[in-house]
Structure formats: structure tokens, C-alpha cells
């Protein structure tokens, strides 16, 4: 019998403490959002990946292997997709016809002269770890294993139309894409993954015994061929493929009924990256397995028997465009300005920042390894506070007389309302800040520019003796906030408890009629190198509009 002092009892009691209700306004936010959000077919939900115990490879140098040939080899031409594939255990050639001798087909000509590209450095149009709708004419870089095992291989690809959505699980990097065009098409997508085991019972995949697989492409091929959970057709790859590659078609049972399966899903394998399950009866997976740098990778395409030909053509084009690169060990060359992603690790280069609450758009050079958050803020990868540093651009409408006791000013949602009138020009805000007791001006204001636009630089910090624990509590009354500014992104300038040491470098400028505030948040123990990098970012700003 456990006493009340038993640690387990105490732990349970500790976990019992706390909030148990979602506020009504949160339901309202969800409802408002879904009113403008259409449902979509997805390859998810995804299991959290079971991390393979692969030895991580050391990358001596960036390398690129062109796998374009795979796309045309492991997708059938006029046969296979679009009709019912004929399962067989006999290897068949990649196109059709003579074993080992691929014959010409009416499909677009494959790249039959695979080459090794000289570098993995992003080109000026590369976008790393994309999200949302993909656009043609851009080379995308997927880092499908980044969130789990650190930097690994990179997959470069292009899409032929704006019919494809990047796919990622919540909180992970992009690892595949799915068709999201106007046609009512389900189960069509492309994914990048590793597989380390098969499920002995794909229907009862949560409780079955996993079938471990050896590390080579042949090991996986053999395991797939041996499974009784689906049919397979092996595809013979041409001799011209410059590395060890196997290709196989996996066809789900045509009588597949997932209603009795675990979670209503039919999972044939476990791995890392794009963790797809059967999309329906006779779902066809074109699986290309190849080995590089001591790892085994898979690029796969999924289609259904009724997938329209024009969608299959697009699928094939994407697969043909795929290249796998080793993660670069040297800083890549800077790309041309790319839109700042909502979140994710950035390669060195110029990024476009949309200043929220205005029509101002500007670009800045960002060091490699910094991260984007919220689509508006950047900071070094792995930032922590204290000692962290962030850079952002905001519009500030006004100040608060008493930022510590702000709750009477709020409307409970949306923007925070300032009670210190501030004129529209940069100098108005500068003067207001200098006069305000909400901040201590520690340097400046001095003339400065943001891009080529005139403004002022100044350094401020929270006033001495401030105890943020005395400030008004935020939502739910669980932590205290100090609201220094009001404006569309006031939340970005909201200082929670334990941040008394916060310092800010500001550049306040008039940009085409809009007052823009560029800020660096930092602390006394922020490393000099990070601070120098942050300042260099502000110096690199160019205003686009």
C-alpha cells in the first residue's frame, strides 16, 4: 500500500495540478480558422518516426548524386499506373519489354546520363525546407531527417505545376509532397524516407513483430519480396545508374479493408521521414532504394488505380527531378532573396521579411544555421535565453505609460492598445522612447539608416529595479508581462518574467510613409559573435517596397 509520501503518489498529485479547461475564445479561434480552411486528403496521420539505428555517416565533402533516372525508370510509362498493375514475383524491366534492356517508351525521355554534380550549394533559387503550396520554377531542398537525427541527406526537387503541397508532420521538416490540385485526386504523392523494418502484420502494425532488415538495398529488396502483406514487381535498373540502386513496385492488396486495422491504417514498414501507409486498395508505390554514404535511402511515389494520366505525368516529372545531396559541410553560397519561411533552419543568404501591419517588404542577409520562427523573427540555431538574440522588424503604433500594469488597456484579443500618443514619424517614436520611463535609453539616438531610408539608432533596456513578477498577469494568470510597445506585432515585444536583463538595439526609420522598427533583442551574456551577426543583418537590409 502506498503512503501519501510515496514518490509516485506525489508525482501523480503534482500532475493533477493545473489547468484543465480550454478557454472559450480558443474554440472561437479554431472555428474561425476552419471556416476558412478546407479539408484535404493527406498522407498522414503519421506515426512519430521510429529512429533507425543507422550509423551516421561522416561527410567529408558535399556531394550530389543525380537520381533523375529513377523517376522514369521506376514509374511505368503507359502501363501500370492508371490501370491495375499485375502483381508478379518475376522481375520485370523498368519500362517494359526485355529484361535488363530498357526500351524506349512514350514517356518523357529519362536522363540517361546521370552525373555527379560538383556541389550541394543551393542555387540562387533554392528554397530550403518549404511548406505550403509549391511553385514551379524553383528548386526545393527537403531535409526529411533533420528533426530527428540532425543534418543528413538533402533531397532536391522541382514541381511542374502549382498543384502540389509540401508535407510535413507537425513539428518536423518537410519530407514529401502530395497532389493538391483542382482534380479530386487522393493518394498521390512523393516522399523521402529511410526504412529499417517491415511489419509482419501491416494491419495490426501496433502490436505485431517488426521484421528487422539488414542495411543494404538488397536486404530491403529481399524483405519486400518476401513479405506476404502486399505484392511486388521488381524493376530492373539500367547499368548506367552510377550507384547501387534497386527499384520495386509495391502494390497493396486489391481487397484491402482497413476498417479492422489498427488506427484504420495499413502500415507495411517503419522508418524515418515520409511514413506512409496504404492509401487504399491497389495503391501502387514506386519505390527506389539506393545507397550512398553508408546509408540507405528511399524515394517513392504513390498513386492509385484511378489516378488521372495528367497527374501521373506530373508525378513522374517530380520523381525525375529528384537529386540526393549530402548535407554540405561548408557554408553554401548565398541564394538570392527568398521568402522567409514560417519556421525552420536557414541556409546563408538573403531573405524577404514582410513587415506585419504594413506594406513594407525588405530583405536581409542571414547567416547559415539561423532559424526562422513565426515567419517574422530570426535567431541563431538553438537559441536559448538568457544569452539569446533575436532579430525582427515591426510596426509600432504607440507606447504605454505603465507597461507593467497594462491589462486595463487591453481588449483581450488582438492588438494591445497604447495610451501614450506617438506621432507617425520615426523621430516621434524616438522622442517618446527617450521621454518614457518604461525604458532606459542607454545609447543614442544617433542618425542611422535602414536600407537607404533615414532613421535613428538607439539602445534601450528595461528600467533598473524592475521586477516583472509585479507586473500584470497574462492570460490564465500564469505569468507576468511587460508590454513596452503597442502595434500589430506587440506580442513580439512582450517581455515575460525573468527577462529583466533584456536589452534592445533599435533602428527606427521612415520607410515610404511607414515607421518601421528593426530590433535586436539581446542579453548581457549574449555571445559577441551572435550579436555581431545580428548587427550585420540589420546593416544588410534592403527595402524592396
Amino acid at each position: 500500500m502506498k503512503s501519501q509520501r510515496d514518490p509516485d503518489v506525489l508525482i501523480r498529485a503534482f500532475l493533477e495540478d493545473g489547468i484543465t479547461e480550454l478557454p472559450d475564445r480558443s474554440y472561437d479561434v479554431v472555428r474561425s480558422t476552419i471556416d476558412h480552411t478546407r479539408q484535404r486528403f493527406d498522407f498522414g496521420p503519421w506515426r512519430e518516426q521510429q529512429v533507425a539505428n543507422f550509423a551516421k555517416f561522416a561527410l567529408a565533402a558535399a556531394a550530389v548524386v543525380l537520381v533523375a533516372v529513377i523517376g522514369s525508370r521506376f514509374l511505368p510509362g503507359n502501363q501500370g499506373i492508371g490501370g491495375q498493375p499485375t502483381p508478379t514475383s518475376t522481375p520485370v524491366p523498368g519500362n517494359q519489354g526485355i529484361s535488363g534492356q530498357p526500351t524506349p517508351t512514350s514517356t518523357p525521355a529519362p536522363t540517361t546520363a546521370p552525373s555527379t554534380a560538383p556541389t550541394a550549394a543551393p542555387s540562387p533559387t533554392d528554397i530550403v525546407d518549404p511548406s505550403g503550396r509549391l511553385q514551379p520554377g524553383i528548386t526545393y531542398v527537403a531535409l526529411p531527417f533533420d528533426s530527428i537525427s540532425g543534418m543528413d541527406a538533402e533531397f532536391r526537387f522541382e514541381v511542374p505545376s502549382a498543384n502540389w503541397d509540401a508535407h510535413r508532420d507537425p513539428g518536423t521538416t518537410m519530407h514529401g509532397m502530395e497532389y493538391a490540385g483542382s482534380q479530386d485526386v487522393d493518394g498521390v504523392g512523393v516522399g523521402f524516407l529511410k526504412v529499417d523494418s517491415l511489419n509482419s502484420d501491416a494491419c495490426h502494425w501496433t502490436t505485431d513483430e517488426d521484421i528487422e532488415i539488414g542495411p543494404t538495398a538488397n536486404d530491403l529488396m529481399e524483405a519486400l519480396r518476401s513479405s506476404d502483406q502486399f505484392e511486388t514487381q521488381e524493376v530492373i535498373m539500367p547499368d548506367t545508374v552510377p550507384f547501387e540502386t534497386r527499384s520495386i513496385r509495391v502494390i497493396m492488396p486489391n481487397s484491402l479493408d482497413v476498417t479492422a486495422c489498427d488506427d484504420g491504417e495499413y502500415h507495411i514498414w517503419n522508418g524515418e521521414g515520409f511514413d506512409i501507409y496504404a492509401q487504399g486498395p491497389s495503391n501502387l508505390w514506386q519505390v527506389s532504394i539506393f545507397e550512398q554514404w553508408g546509408e540507405r535511402y528511399i524515394v517513392m511515389g504513390s498513386s492509385m488505380p484511378d489516378t488521372p494520366d495528367e497527374v501521373l505525368v506530373e508525378l513522374r516529372e517530380i520523381l525525375r527531378s529528384v537529386r540526393i545531396d549530402a548535407a554540405p559541410t561548408e557554408a553554401p553560397s548565398p541564394p538570392a532573396a527568398a521568402p522567409l519561411p514560417d519556421e525552420g533552419t536557414l541556409v546563408e543568404g538573403a531573405y524577404i521579411f514582410e513587415v506585419e501591419g504594413s506594406s513594407v517588404s525588405l530583405s536581409a542577409m542571414v547567416p547559415g544555421g539561423w532559424r526562422a520562427e513565426f515567419g517574422t523573427v530570426i535567431g541563431p540555431n538553438g537559441w536559448q535565453e538568457p544569452g539569446g538574440v533575436t532579430v525582427g522588424f515591426v510596426v509600432v503604433d504607440g507606447l504605454l505609460k505603465d507597461p507593467c500594469h497594462w491589462s486595463r488597456l487591453t481588449n483581450g484579443e488582438g492588438d494591445q492598445l497604447g495610451d501614450v500618443p506617438v506621432g507617425p514619424a520615426a523621430i516621434d517614436l524616438v522622442n517618446a522612447l527617450v521621454a518614457s520611463s518604461a525604458f532606459t535609453t542607454t545609447e543614442g539616438p544617433n542618425p542611422a539608416t535602414l536600407g537607404s531610408y533615414p532613421g535613428y539608432a538607439m539602445e534601450i533596456q528595461l528600467p533598473d529595479g524592475l521586477d516583472l513578477m509585479e507586473c500584470d498577469l497574462g492570460d490564465f494568470g500564469l505569468h507576468h508581462h511587460y508590454l513596452g510597445f503597442s502595434g500589430p506585432r506587440a506580442a513580439a515585444l512582450k517581455y515575460a518574467e525573468d527577462r529583466e536583463a533584456l536589452q534592445q538595439d533599435l533602428v527606427i526609420a521612415d520607410v515610404s510613409g511607414t515607421r518601421v522598427v528593426a530590433y535586436i533583442h539581446r542579453f548581457p551574456d549574449t555571445p559577441d559573435a551572435d550579436l555581431d551577426a545580428a548587427r550585420a543583418i540589420l546593416e544588410s537590409v534592403e527595402v524592396w517596397r
Binding site: L10, E16, R47
Partner: protein
């Protein structure tokens, strides 16, 4: 009722999803708060999870699996929210203002303080296992299934998390004077 709402929502019925969200929202909030130890972040994570669930609902084959499926999404959103929040807030202290009465007889201020500190040192993955097991009351195989991790991994995470929390309590018990000093 829940199954019917899921079926309706899968067909695009927003009213049904709204009703469904109100059925499961509190439970999600309770779980998210206990993983993140921060109400704002938990709120954000739950909202994101519900919106993600709406978008992906068509891919849910078994309506009866809705809640476990949602909890898996929620857990990922908690992980993402924690990563997003690192630079925004530092070591926010949670003031136990809800539900304290129920445990006040069991937990001393010292206990709570020690557990809070120890809990914050756990990885998010360990916290999730701990919360689903000890708070949500799921058996470990269910926890593993809900989080999409092997059973052995779930056991390992629970073992390490529990050991860390126990150690914090035991260390505190050995140093009463230090604890009192810290509270002073």
C-alpha cells in the same frame, strides 16, 4: 456521439467539428499544459492541433480512433510549440492556481517546487510519456501506441523521467535546511 461527430466532420461539416472540438478540447488542454508547463503555449498547441486535425481529418480511417489520433498530433504540436517558444519566454514559473486544493494536502510547497524544477529538466518526450501514463492513466502499451513509439522506448522514457522526479524529492528530503533557505 463522438463517433457521429467525427463522421460528420470527415464529410466537411464544420458545425460538427466545432462540437467535436468542444468535446475533446479540455482534455487536450490539460495534457498540453502538463507537457509544456505553460498555459499560453498549451493553448497555442491545442489550437494548432485542432486545426491540423480538421485539415487532415479525411485521412483518419477509423472514427473511433479520433482521440488517440488527435493526441498524437497534439504531442507533436507541443514539441513544436516548445521549440518556437524558446526565444520568446525564459523559464516561466508556473503559479499553481488551478486544482491546487485537491493536491494541497499531499504536496508541500517544497514538493511542488522540487517537482516543478525536475519536470522542467525532463525532455519533452519524457514529459509526454509521463503525462499520458500518470495523468491520462494510459497503460504503457497504449502510451507507446498513442505517441507512435516502440514500447521499449516508452518504458525507457518513463523510467528515466520517474527516476529524475523521485531523485528530486529524495534530494530535497535530505536537505531540509537548504530548501527552507531557498524559500525564504
Amino acid at each position: 456521439v463522438q463517433r457521429a461527430l467525427v463522421d460528420q466532420a470527415k464529410r466537411g461539416d464544420r458545425e460538427a467539428f466545432d462540437a467535436l472540438a468542444r468535446v475533446v478540447g479540455d482534455r487536450c488542454m490539460a495534457i498540453a499544459f502538463r507537457i509544456l508547463r505553460d498555459a499560453d503555449r498549451a493553448d497555442d498547441a491545442v489550437q494548432a492541433a485542432l486545426i491540423t486535425a480538421w485539415r487532415q481529418l479525411r485521412s483518419l480511417r477509423d472514427p473511433d480512433a479520433f482521440e488517440p489520433w488527435l493526441h498524437r498530433i497534439l504531442t507533436h504540436e507541443c514539441y513544436a510549440e516548445a521549440r518556437r517558444g524558446r526565444h520568446m519566454r525564459a523559464d516561466v514559473r508556473v503559479l499553481p492556481i488551478h486544482g491546487q486544493a485537491e493536491s494541497a494536502d499531499i504536496l508541500t510547497v517544497n514538493d511542488r517546487d522540487q517537482l516543478e524544477r525536475a519536470f522542467r529538466r525532463l525532455t519533452l518526450e519524457q514529459r509526454a510519456v509521463l503525462v499520458f501514463h500518470h495523468y491520462a492513466g494510459l497503460a504503457l502499451p497504449e502510451v507507446a501506441q498513442r505517441l507512435g513509439i516502440p514500447l521499449g522506448t516508452a518504458k525507457s522514457r518513463l523510467h528515466h523521467a520517474t527516476a529524475a522526479l523521485r531523485a528530486s524529492l529524495e534530494a530535497d528530503a535530505r536537505m531540509p535546511s537548504l530548501s527552507q533557505e531557498r524559500l525564504a
